[in-house]
């Protein structure tokens, strides 16, 4: 369904939290890149699971356990189709993007990356796609190489290609920058890495909520995303991995469910995906994520993509026309994120002032300190959009920015 002025109110009515008043004003929620809101359909699904379907999975033969197992595994199939993965066993449920990346670092990195090897990252990465690789590099004596970016916040593709050599063993790259909104040409970059036989992990935390993801078309080895950024619950996310790699990898955590047999002498690990899902998983959250994917599919990710782009263009035009305001991140291909600075006003004061008008934005370094350093700022203010936002809300943001400027003039 196309999202436009005629149906946006109906769509917003799906989200109970959007009726909230903050500081006595209607909530204007523009912090969707941090976490999105949950529609009633997902809330209802979670309540239904918890009220009538809950038990531990993969364990007992009783009715509830079989039902919960079926629902949990169906959620996995929903994620499979959402990413267009070939098989559902290529989907590992994780706590979120961060845990998915850590899983790859432990399971793949520790097994296949050794002293002197090089791991390529980009200057746009979130800390979640930097720190695990730094930990691995320290442990193994491997080296991190960083793809630089230009003043627009676009990666320099020539420099990217020049980083590859026979020591390059891994590429960990964000699909969309959380701090600047840059959409990286990941398909082209994956193809180049493959020419050098280098596997690729894509951090899809910011891409999955807004654009159609096709891991077979991208041909990446790993793709990670978080449920709570696409209208699902917190505590759930997924890692896609090519089956032949997941099979070769070391387990991440040890425990129940990830084993076939255990003696004190030896443990035989389970097959994928169970091998990577030790212990009781967040069953409710996984089923909630499945319901969120169903909800988004009814609207259509392509329609969401088109509408959010329109919002971003509208916001960019309005904010860039304001004297004394600078937009950080002006890449040609951008998604859903508007990072900005107001002359002479610290982002935290901007955030506090906007909050008094009910407007929720993120202020800070957005867990991307290297990006902040590149732009010589300690922090930015960031408005990030979802398909339930409106032009009127962006007008309120603009009015709020003007109020900040008047206060601090």
């Amino acid at each position: 369904m196309n999202i436009d002025q005629t149906n946006i109110d109906k769509l917003r009515a799906d989200f109970p939290i959007l009726k909230l008043q903050v500081s006595g004003k209607p909530l204007v929620y523009l912090d969707n890149a941090a976490s999105s809101q949950m529609p009633q359909a997902v809330i209802d699904r979670i309540v239904r699971y918890q009220s009538a379907e809950h038990s531990n999975i993969h364990r007992a033969v009783h009715y509830l356990s079989e039902l919960a197992t079926k629902e949990y595994e169906e959620a996995r199939v929903k994620v499979q189709h959402f990413l267009n993965a070939k098989e559902s066993r290529e989907i590992i449920f994780t706590r979120g993007t961060t845990e998915a990346i850590n899983l790859v670092m432990h399971g793949y990195g520790r097994a296949f990356i050794s002293k002197g090897d090089e791991i390529i990252l980009s200057a746009l990465e979130h800390h979640a796609n930097i720190v695990p690789w730094q930990m691995l590099a320290q442990e193994k004596g491997a080296v991190l190489r960083v793809i630089p970016m230009n003043d627009e916040g676009e990666l320099l593709i020539d420099e990217f290609e020049a980083l590859f050599n026979e020591k390059t063993k891994f590429l960990a790259l964000t699909h969309v920058s959380n701090a600047l909104g840059t959409v990286n040409p990941v398909k082209q970059m994956v193809a180049f890495a493959h020419k050098h036989g280098v596997p690729v992990l894509l951090d899809g935390a910011q891409a999955a909520p807004h654009q159609v993801i096709d891991v077979q078309d991208l041909d990446c080895e790993f793709y990670a995303f978080s449920g709570h950024k696409l209208c699902g619950p917190t505590g759930i996310g997924a890692l896609y991995g090519k089956a032949h790699l997941l099979e070769k990898m070391q387990p991440f955590q040890g425990g129940g469910d990830m084993i076939l047999s255990v003696t004190f002498e030896k443990t035989t690990y389970n097959v994928i995906p169970a091998k990577f899902e030790a212990g009781t998983p967040p069953i409710m959250a996984a089923i909630g994520l499945g319901a969120a994917i169903d909800y988004l599919n009814v609207i259509g990710i392509a329609n969401i993509d088109a509408y959010v782009k329109e919002l971003l263009d509208y916001a960019t035009a309005k904010v860039s026309a304001m004297p004394g305001v600078r937009i950080l991140g002006t890449a040609k291909k951008k998604a859903a994120v508007l990072s900005f600075e107001i002359d002479g006003v610290h982002p935290h004061d901007v955030g506090t002032m906007l909050n008094a008008d009910g407007i929720a934005i993120r202020t800070g370094h957005h867990c991307a300190q290297p990006v902040m350093e590149r732009f010589h700022v300690p922090a930015t203010a960031r408005a990030s959009f979802a398909f339930y936002n409106t032009r009127e809300e962006i007008d309120k943001l603009v009015k709020g920015i003007r109020k900040v400027q008047e206060m601090f003039a």
Binding site: S23, H346, T352, A356, H365, A379, F408
Partner: protein, 173 residues
């Protein structure tokens, strides 16, 4: 707090625009740096203590209006005070910012610093106001010539018993 004029009072905006005692003091005998990694607030403090008295004090760095104004007004307020008097003010300011001291009803030495009482309603901004004071505490408790780094973020709270950093859920309320 929906009336932003209660927080951003003219005196705070003025100190933010024109911070007093800005810079570094050559040859100062006490130094400390304060840093809130999450906000990027960063304060460098130099203090000259003679005969147990704060003779001169100056700060530099970058931060939000609350942090800068707090640092600027702090330097004015503690200059000429004894170390013990300054420490009492650190205690009182911290208590006020976390809502444990009502400067209108309870005895204190905060004077004009009362303008910061409003931050107690903004848990995420309490640490901005307190950072300069923690930094002062760190500077005063250092042996001459040593450098201290302090933070009001997370668990790195350098002031024992402040509540901040010890129990993030109940602190900063």
């Amino acid at each position: 707090m929906s009336d932003m004029r209660q927080l951003y009072q003219e005196v705070i905006l003025d100190h933010n625009r024109k911070p007093r005692n800005w810079g570094a003091i050559p040859g100062a005998n006490h130094h400390a740096e304060g840093h809130n990694p999450l906000c990027g607030d960063h304060i460098k403090l130099s203090v000259n203590v003679q005969d147990d008295k704060i003779e001169t004090i100056a700060f530099e760095g970058h931060g939000c209006a609350i942090c800068k104004a707090s640092a600027s007004m702090m330097t004015g307020a503690v200059k000429g005070k004894t170390v013990q008097e300054a420490e009492t003010m650190v205690e009182e300011f911290r208590s006020m910012a976390t809502g444990k001291l009502d400067p209108e009803c309870q005895a204190n030495h905060l004077g004009k610093l009362k303008v910061f009482a409003g931050v107690k309603d903004l848990p995420s901004r309490v640490k901005c106001a307190i950072l300069p004071w923690h930094t002062l505490h760190a500077a005063l408790n250092l042996v001459e010539g040593a450098e201290a780094a302090t933070s009001t973020e997370g668990e790195a709270d350098p002031v024992p018993g402040t509540g901040i950093g010890e129990d993030p859920a109940s602190a900063e309320k």
